[in-house]
């Protein structure tokens, strides 16, 4: 492979990686937000993403909505689902040992997967073409309009989220609860309400990712959330769990690494590379790329 074609490949793989990575980033944000506030790895998060994809699917096929309204619809459905799950499954365990909540999360995940299988059958569904794919060719570099759509939507949502968390009262309350739940309660913050908001926001972002994936890959099924859920978890840990910019960075980085590994080594090592990153990060920098080493409060 000569230098120019190598460079060409590199840039093309970068494009592939960033579009895949922005999906991971959107899902990873939900993981990180929930972890940041109640120290729970919400393993049902990948299934919320699946739920969102199905909500988007039914919005476009049955309600005949176009792309944007369907996206908003899916985000609302997932936000409500996130609130319900938190209310029913996690809130009763607020003071239980952390491992009990973690196991409950796995239970919720299985319930969502197989419950959906019961309602929508295990057969994969084809997402209708709500957003046509135009292919742009920049001197041999191929960019698809759907990739642009993913990137634009992801960036827009991340900016909005950052604004909500940094500039609004709800965001301030979230940061307060995350910092010290008891102190926040003493200051008159309704902690339960803030946690509900957090779940709603995280779930809505996952749903957006689900709809984008449905549009991009054209196929959804009830178990579609398992792998991206795990990968997004890796992304969240990579960037530093509990830190919002970390989740974005981790997601994009993971997508790029996967693309590079399949592009320049072998496609069979792709998933191995993703999880090897998790192990390496946990060994050498457990608080993640952007995390600071702080002693856990006792």
């Amino acid at each position: 492979m000569d230098a120019s074609s190598f460079l060409h490949q590199l840039v093309q793989q970068l494009i592939n990686g960033i579009s895949l990575g922005s999906i991971y980033a959107l899902v990873a944000l939900g993981y990180t937000m929930v972890y940041g506030i109640i120290k729970l790895i919400n393993f049902a998060h990948g299934d919320i993403y699946m739920l969102g994809a199905y909500a988007g699917f039914f919005a476009t096929t049955i309600l005949k909505l176009s792309f944007l309204p369907a996206l908003v619809f899916a985000m609302v459905v997932a936000a409500v689902a996130g609130i319900i799950i938190e209310r029913l499954a996690y809130r009763p365990l607020r003071n239980a040992p952390r491992i009990a909540v973690l196991i409950t999360a796995i239970g919720v995940s299985l319930l969502l997967e197989y419950g959906m299988m019961l309602f929508v059958t295990p057969q994969p569904r084809t997402f209708p073409a709500v957003f046509s794919a135009t292919v742009y060719n920049f001197g041999g570099l191929i960019v698809n309009s759907q990739q642009v759509l993913i990137l634009v939507t992801a960036v827009f949502l991340m900016v909005t989220l950052t604004y909500i968390v940094q500039k609004t009262m709800v965001g301030k309350a979230m940061r307060a609860v995350s910092y010290d739940m008891d102190a926040a309660r003493l200051m008159g913050i309704d902690v339960d309400k803030v946690i509900s908001y957090t779940f709603a926001l995280g779930s809505a972002l996952a749903a957006a990712a689900g709809v984008l994936v449905g549009v991009y890959y054209n196929s959804i099924d009830p178990l579609m959330g398992i792998m991206p859920g795990l990968k997004a978890f890796v992304a969240a840990v990579l960037g530093g769990i509990g830190i919002l910019p970390g989740a974005m960075l981790g997601g994009v980085l993971l997508g790029v690494v996967e693309a590079m590994v399949s592009g320049f080594f072998s496609s069979t090592f792709r998933d191995a590379a993703a999880f090897a990153i998790l192990i390496i990060i946990l060994l050498f920098r457990p608080s993640g790329l952007l995390g600071k080493n702080i002693r856990e409060k006792v």
Partner: protein
């Protein structure tokens, strides 16, 4: 009255000893019945992941028996009846279903499951109960030849060609018809079927003087193939061979075309699904070809007659599963007629002698390893429709 009761008790005791496998002579009937309906079993995937395959296959078998019964049945006017047992698309259940057909329903022969692994799971039951099973579609060589002993399982048959043939058909098609000199292989690493096809495609392609420039792999449920396809594009193959199932194949074809890979993409019978054009998009599928057992567009009289009868009965187009299952059922009927008895061993002996049997999917001859030697068809996708391209004889 007493006799009937005794028989009832006897069968309850028999049912109790079912697990011990002592049922070969249960029911007290040593001699096969010489009147009444003859039961043929069908151990098929009626529910579970492969449910659409099982449904097509049972429809095909039912149609075959209906036609035979309308013509007066077999062995001097005896009617045939299909007993369907659901194996839930699971290998363990397939063994149970075969056991049920053999001992409870007392079938004289059976249609074996669609999936190779399920056929193999039930094989021991067929061998010990001495009841033949013929799979419409199981194409793994180990179905009829026990890999542990390298001996032919004498009660197992198939109505389909095996993977080595399919792989080499596509290799010849690539070199002879598409004039390909170089090929890429993109294999589903989680399927023995796909890995077998890749191996035989490579062997065939290299034998004809071609070169495999790159071989990559994916896993079932993967969704992003762009990185690997970008790499493939750089090695500039004349064709890409993607053995696998329609779900991932659809996404691979779509993403390959989006990346500007316009070369022909080839595949095998795992592509045969109405879902494929939905996933890939009709225009992306242009210039793709796959091998299959039969094409409803084939204008041979046998195919035309079958398609017409099937459409009349079920109001849909028959797929390859329906056609092969129809053929497998007709081969059983043929063997019963030739054996002139319902003795299961005699039926098995006649089945093994099947030669030039005129089936819907072509003329079928069973070789010494009980594999069907018959033609394959190559189907081209044009604007989302399957179009018959050519027939390849062995």
């Amino acid at each position: 009255m007493f006799k009937a009761n005794a028989k009832k008790w006897f069968s309850i005791i028999c049912a109790g000893t079912l697990m011990a496998g002592l049922l070969a002579g249960c029911g007290g009937e040593k001699k096969p019945a010489t009147s009444g309906t003859i039961k043929i079993g069908a151990n098929l995937e009626m529910t579970g992941g492969n449910a659409t395959f099982g449904k097509s296959a049972s429809n095909g078998a039912k149609l075959a028996l209906k036609e035979v019964n309308e013509k007066g049945g077999v062995l001097g006017g005896r009617k045939l009846e299909l007993v369907v047992a659901d194996n839930k698309s699971e290998a363990a259940e397939a063994a149970n279903a075969m056991q049920k057909l053999a001992t409870q329903d007392k079938v004289v022969a059976a249609i074996a499951p669609i999936a190779s692994s399920s056929v193999m799971a039930g094989a021991a039951v067929n061998q010990s109960a001495k009841i033949l099973a013929i799979s419409p579609t199981a194409s793994n060589p180990a179905v009829t030849v026990d890999p542990a002993t390298n001996k032919v399982r004498d009660f197992l048959f198939r109505a389909t060609f095996i993977d080595p043939f399919q792989g080499s058909v596509m290799a010849s098609f690539a070199t002879a018809d598409l004039k390909a000199k170089t090929a890429a292989i993109y294999v589903d690493n989680s399927s023995d079927y796909a890995k077998g096809l890749a191996k035989f495609f490579r062997a065939g392609f290299e034998k004809q003087g071609g070169k495999i420039v790159i071989e990559e792999a994916y896993l079932q449920k993967d969704t992003d193939f762009k990185a690997t396809l970008t790499k493939m594009k750089a090695s500039n193959p004349d064709v890409i061979f993607v053995p696998g199932y329609y779900q991932e194949v659809g996404m691979i074809v779509k993403q390959a075309r989006e990346l500007g890979l316009t070369v022909p993409i080839l595949g095998a019978d795992g592509w045969d699904s109405a879902k494929l054009p939905e996933i890939a998009g009709a225009s992306a599928l242009n210039n793709t070809y796959f091998s299959n057992h039969y094409s409803p567009d084939d204008n041979s009289p046998a195919v035309k007659k079958f398609v017409e009868a099937y459409k009349k009965e079920y109001n849909e187009m028959p797929d390859a599963f329906a056609a092969l299952s129809y053929d497998a059922t007709m081969m059983i009927v043929n063997a019963i007629t030739k054996a002139n008895s319902t003795d299961t061993v005699k039926i098995k002996d006649e089945m093994a002698k099947t030669k030039d049997f005129p089936g819907v999917s072509g003329s079928i001859t069973l070789n010494e390893t009980h594999d069907a030697v018959k033609s394959a068809v190559i189907i081209e996708m044009k604007d989302g429709k399957q179009v018959f391209n050519k027939k390849v004889n062995p």
